[in-house]
């Protein structure tokens, strides 16, 4: 797409055919259409194939630890809430190692846009099961097949009253681009779980497998109804809904922190006289 060249980053180290390429393309186009300049955008990521994402998109980047992108992104957002902050990671990153942060980022409703590249496998570490791997999937590390229930990020997010909950699919470019734009436009915490074929390690959930099953939720679905959303979120199997599952209007965390109601924290540097006067007053309290 014209205009998207400015997001051109490093050369991706993904496998040829990896679903991440499609996601990246949709992403760049969405950014282009939203007219977000690279230098005004910050992407925080974890470790995994998906975690390399911000290196391949020109933007401010904090590529942190496996599983820890949400707290870092929270810090960034609180320090400079005028800047769009995106978190990107894999299913292992966000639902495995980083599961606790997901719960609490949603509770805060901090205005981070989270995109999970959900390939239902640990890609970078070469094919172990992830929380979203389907029951029974056999890997070298799960010789008896996956015994745990499959993690359902949509249902959990709805249960947490997450303010924007959606599922995309790497194989449906236009739909995905639309979702990304919608998520970016939403105030508060947004979770977009993106089904992403891993052509190397996930031989179950392939392009073909997904393509046969995914369908866009239609207008009959009311994403503002929490119970309807929950029912929709439970769909998985022969038919897998993509689109906005749930949405609400909870005030965002950054709106609610009184300290930054006037201006961004990073712009509130106290120096010289004003700092000294305050300190002198504080010292009095010690008497």
């Amino acid at each position: 797409m014209e205009g998207s060249e400015k997001y051109q980053g490093e050369v991706p180290a993904w496998c040829p055919g990896c679903g991440n390429f499609a996601i990246m393309r949709a992403f760049k186009e969405a950014l282009t259409e939203l007219a977000i300049e690279p230098e005004n955008l910050c992407i925080v990521s974890g470790i995994g194939q998906a975690g390399k994402f911000p290196h391949y998109i020109r933007c401010n980047t904090f590529n942190g630890l496996h599983g820890r992108s949400l707290p870092v992104a929270t810090g960034v957002k609180l320090a400079n809430h005028a800047m769009p902050v995106i978190a990107v990671g894999g299913d292992g990153d966000m639902y495995g190692e980083g599961g606790n942060h997901l719960l609490h980022a949603i509770r805060r409703n901090i205005g981070i846009k989270l995109f999970v590249h959900d390939n239902q496998i640990y890609g970078l570490t070469k094919g172990q099961a992830s929380p979203t791997s389907m029951e029974g999937m056999v890997t070298k590390n799960q010789p008896f097949g996956v015994l745990s229930g499959q993690f359902n990020p949509m249902a959990v997010a709805v249960a947490l009253d997450c303010s924007f909950v959606a599922r995309g699919y790497a194989g449906d470019h236009d739909h995905l681009k639309g979702l990304i734009k919608e998520a970016m436009g939403h105030k508060g915490f947004s979770l977009v779980d993106i089904l992403q074929p891993c052509v190397t390690f996930n031989k179950v959930n392939t392009y073909e497998w997904y393509s046969k099953r995914v369908y866009p939720v239609g207008p009959e679905h009311d994403p503002e109804s929490r119970t309807a959303a929950f029912a929709k979120a439970l769909e998985w199997g022969d038919r897998i809904p993509i689109g906005v599952i749930y949405r609400n209007n909870r005030p965002s965390f950054e709106e609610r922190v009184p300290v930054i109601s006037g201006s961004c924290l990073v712009d509130q540097v106290l120096e010289g006289r004003s700092l000294k006067d305050k300190l002198t007053a504080t010292l009095k309290e010690f008497y």
Binding site: E39, C59, F286
Partner: protein, 571 residues
Amino acid sequence: MDYTIKIGGQAGQGIQTIGDVLAKVFSRSGYHVFTDQDYESRVRGGHNFYRIRLSDTHVYAPRASVDILAAFDRESIADYGKELAGSGIIVYDSSMLGERYEGPQMLDVPFTALAAESGAGRIAANTVAIGAILGMLGFPLEPLFDILKDGLKRKDNETLENNRKAAGAGYEYSVQNCTRCEFEALSAGEPKMLVGGNEAIGFGAVAAGCKFYAAYPMTPSTGIMLFVAGKAKDYGIIVEQAEDEIAAINMALGASFAGVPSMTGTSGGGFALMTEGLSLAAMTETPIVVALAQRPGPATGLPTRTEQGDLMMVLHAGHGEFPRVIFAPGDPGQAVRLTAKAFNMALKYQIPAFVLTDQYLADTRWTLDSIQIEGLTVPNYRAGNERLDTMEQYKRHAFTPDGVSLFGMPGKTRHLVVTDSDEHNEAGHLIEDSLTRKKMVEKRLFLKLEDIRKEIGPPILLGHGSPDTVLISWGSTYGVVREAMEAMPAGKKVAMLHFSELYPLPGNERLDYLALLRGAGRTVCVENNATGQFAGLMRTECGHEVSDSVLRYDGRPFMVEELVEELRGRI
């Protein structure tokens, strides 16, 4: 004049409030005050004490010998009675304890009955007790009234008046009945500040410009967060209680990356969880200050007790090799200064900096004559957009002669700020090649360390000019070692070296302490741990082998008398 008042009772009886009020009376009256606390890991019941030492000259540590024991339960009398000085008095309320104790040292004051009579109700029994103690000491009551007024600000005049009456009743009662009370209140100086260890760290942070504090509650560090939270509105600071310690340090790193001075605080167990994040700070060269208040481990250990057991952990925490700075203040004054300095070092060198304390120091309060604000404020090391925007290109991790790259703020310049937990190139993008790797190690580690070393202040040297014996202390043992040194027999040539800036170890340029140590026949390291961790650090870092270690590792701090005795046997 040097009196110790010990208030003993169960959690929930308000002995901390009594102690705080009394300490404030004394500090406002211009005395030198030192308080410490001992409590169990529970909210009600158990057996606690609050100890106040007051004097007309400096005091730096607790003494075991008690002059006034205020007993709010029977255990206090059973456990602490033996600590009573020859002229000491035990004050208690026989109706409260359900027992009358006989003996010349016992003063039975009907706290509850007098409170009820005063009109303030039985709830004011503690106020009666405070009045009674002041009466025993022969102190004026006015400072107390002022404090009651401050404390009751929002309550009505009647309550205040009743409380005054209650205090007065206790006062009168003890003045009349304590015939053996022979305390004399020497005249004192100007009002003093009374500052606790945690407050001091909090104040140092605020003064240094801390804008973001993320932490998870953990005794004994929680007080730092509470202090900063109390100042959040006034100074414009975000204080966020994270879901866990991992989140806490990562949030602080995110905020720091975005451009604001950030901090976290915890105790050993919480810090153990942060160590991966510490390594992240190092790799991304993101400044961070970590306050670590030690308590006895391993694991949950003794959550409300004290130990200096985490020095080695802090020194080597985090995988991989990277520089760090560790400060371990010996008193609240040092805590203020070194916390601010920790911010300075962290921001200037883009490294993690530690303030290492322990439960003992965190829960002590000391009088200070003043705190100099000037030395505390920290320059703005961030590269503003004006500066960056005029540059043709910007690389977050650019190689420079001193290893420090310009710290750009994302979203505040036309350039991109990119960093990575993977090994990266100057631009912050991940690399695989060995050459870049090598240069980056040298940048982060060797180049910076050289300059950092130069900024480390010398140890504090006190005592004899050319000593036979040098006592070595670090962190919270400062006060007790100082008092013990001063109490050594006159003929002995004893000095002490206190290390509060302890990693990297200071050079010998400003104070040739190595020569001093070599010159002394005996060097004794006093530590509140079982393995002599600082002695080990000295051995590794400067090759000095201490001749002797005095170690305490039962979760309790050293007492002056105990240390004096211990040292007398060895010197």
